[in-house]
């Protein structure tokens, strides 16, 4: 009976030693935070904002679990470690998807820029072909001014591309393309008007 009591007391201390002195998974915490930070820096806040938010939430949940365990007498960080490992893996996976998303947005912006350039060039070429004379001079001057205005706006596309604002660049380019197409249409109508007069 005496031995049993001794055994129980020793067992209790042994368990206490291995559980209450379990340390926070500091390395895992730091690694996970670094992985989430790296995904953010890669551009997840722009190209995968919802996924990044989920990642941050999962990280908070894992840290809450650590805080809970930290306050317990018998600390068990196994679940928290698993959660951290999952967040880290998810962060790395998310980071890996960003370059492709960024590239797709960049390509879309570059295509929009080329299309806007083509629309501007087409309008200019049309204007060059327009019959010049006293009857058309005023219209030509007006369209030239319109196209100059669009040309002035065109560098905004490149400026947006340079600061990696691909969505902004696409938007500006699409607008210039639409306006240039509108001017082309007006030039065509003016040419038709002159033809009709002859």
């Amino acid at each position: 009976m005496k031995n049993l009591v001794k055994f129980l007391i020793l067992g209790f201390f042994a368990v206490s030693l291995f559980t209450s002195c379990a340390k926070q998974p500091t390395q895992e915490i730091n690694d996970t935070k670094a992985a989430v930070e790296a995904a953010t820096k890669e551009g997840a806040d722009v190209y995968a904002a919802d996924e990044l938010k989920k990642l941050n939430d999962d990280q908070t949940t894992a840290l809450d679990e650590i805080a809970t365990q930290d306050k317990k007498f018998f600390k068990k960080f196994g679940t928290a470690k698993e959660m951290l490992a999952k967040v880290k893996a998810d962060a790395e996976a998310l980071k890996a998807t960003i370059p492709a998303k960024k590239e797709a947005a960049k390509n879309a912006a570059l295509t929009a820029q080329q299309e806007a350039r083509a629309a501007l060039d087409e309008a200019k070429a049309l204007l060059e072909k327009a019959p010049k004379g006293k009857g058309t001079k005023a219209d030509i001057e007006a369209f030239t001014a319109d196209l100059k205005g669009l040309e002035d706006s065109f560098p905004e596309v490149q400026a947006a591309l340079d600061r990696e604002d691909y969505f902004g660049a696409s938007n500006t380019a699409a607008t210039i393309k639409e306006k240039a197409a509108g001017v082309s249409e007006q030039i065509k109508q003016a040419i038709e008007k002159v033809k009709g007069k002859k």
């Binding site: 919802d50 938010k53 939430d57 809450d64 805080a67 809970t68 365990q69 930290d70 306050k71 317990k72 006293k134 009857g135 058309t136 001079k137 005023a138 219209d139 001057e141 007006a142 030239t144 001014a145 319109d146 196209l147 100059k148 205005g149 669009l150 002035d152 706006s153 902004g168 938007n171 500006t172 607008t175 210039i176 639409e178 306006k179 007069k197």
Partner: protein, 363 residues
């Protein structure tokens, strides 16, 4: 038997204790708060209700802290009542934040939409003002830039990107201001009451002379782009005209592509002209020569520039862009040619009405 009863009693007691001391479940408000935080983030609380959101997050952290503390206790000793109350308060606060976000967004959207509407009206006013003006290159250039930015705002408004939208609105305002500056520089003279009064006087004198002498007279109004024929002081006909690139300016020297202002006479009728038929007027008159000489002395015109001449009313069409002459449709030219004789007064004025009010509306 007695021992058996005691055993049953103890076991039942233990069972009841075990059941009653079960670990209580985490209150549902905890999960609801998590969902709410996500909803707030998606709604844009960090942007549209920053301070409130920070306070909300701080209260959420406190509640979580209490939850963690409670969770750390042995299951039998956990009591989530306080935690539940804390999370209920957080949910209530979150609801208020969400409402603020929605109100702020609605207000922002309304304000920006109103601003955009005002800018659209401003653009239309500029277009209205420049419809009869040829020297609009600078204006149209700025308007084209403003319109590009204006079209972009539609996408931004749709995507609720209000910060980007505000930047675009500032850009539109800049381009419109430039356009307005250009309009002002062209039309300033047309808002000068003394100048407009002089033009009115010339017009009245011309009409009065036509009435008194029973003759034909021509009044050309540059801003309205009209040529009116008066017979015995009464309007016989009004036609549309075309002017030069800088037609609204008063002619000062050769090559300035401006149309002169003053009281002239038809001095030659040309049945065959480069532009169908033409009526040559006596520009420069004595007043023009005086102005030319003064402008030259003040260095307002190039030293080698001559005063110019050969200002005509000719055919070719009202949509012509002349070098300073007045163009009309060929059919109109036929009527003028037959109805006008050498010596017919031709008075060219800027406008009978001041544009001061119109220009003021741009400000």
């Amino acid at each position: 038997m007695k021992l058996k009863t005691v055993r049953i009693f103890v076991l039942t007691g233990l069972l009841v204790a075990a059941v009653s001391c079960q670990t209580p479940p985490v209150p549902p408000e905890v999960e609801q708060a998590k969902d709410q935080e996500n909803e707030l983030w998606r709604a844009g609380a960090p942007v549209y209700a920053t301070q409130q959101y920070i306070r909300y997050l701080s209260s959420l952290r406190l509640a979580k802290g209490k939850l963690i503390k409670e969770k750390a206790k042995f299951g039998w000793f956990r009591d989530y009542k306080e935690v539940q109350a804390e999370f209920q308060a957080v949910l209530k606060r979150g609801q208020t934040v969400l409402q603020s976000v929605q109100e702020e967004k609605a207000l922002k959207s309304r304000n920006l939409t109103e601003q955009l509407e005002a800018l659209r009206e401003r653009t239309q006013r500029i277009w209205k003002l420049i419809l009869t003006v040829n020297e609009t290159q600078l204006v149209r250039r700025s308007l084209a830039q403003a319109e590009v930015a204006m079209m972009e705002t539609e996408v931004l408004l749709d995507k609720k990107k209000y910060a980007d939208l505000s930047r675009k609105i500032a850009l539109i305002q800049f381009h419109l201001s430039q356009a307005e500056e250009a309009v002002f520089s062209i039309l300033e003279r047309y808002a000068d009451e003394v100048q407009v009064e002089t033009w009115r006087r010339w017009a009245m004198e011309t009409i009065s002379e036509s009435r008194k002498k029973g003759t034909t007279a021509i009044l050309i109004t540059k801003l309205e782009r009209t040529l009116t024929v008066y017979r015995e002081g009464k309007v016989a006909a009004t036609y549309n005209i075309g002017l030069g690139k800088y037609g609204l300016s008063d002619k000062l020297h050769a090559g300035d592509e401006a149309t002169p202002e003053g009281r002239y006479k038809v001095i030659k009728k040309l049945p065959q002209s480069r532009f169908y038929k033409a009526l040559l007027i006596d520009y420069p008159n004595d007043e023009d020569k005086k102005e030319f000489s003064q402008a030259k002395k003040r260095g307002l015109i190039p030293r080698r520039a001559g005063i110019g001449g050969l200002i005509e009313i000719h055919g070719g069409g009202e949509d012509s862009l002349t070098g300073g002459c007045i163009a009309v449709e060929d059919g109109v030219m036929d009527k003028l040619f037959s109805g006008v004789s050498i010596g017919t007064p031709v008075t060219i004025i800027g406008s009978l009405e001041s544009v001061a009010e119109l220009l003021a509306s741009l400000k």
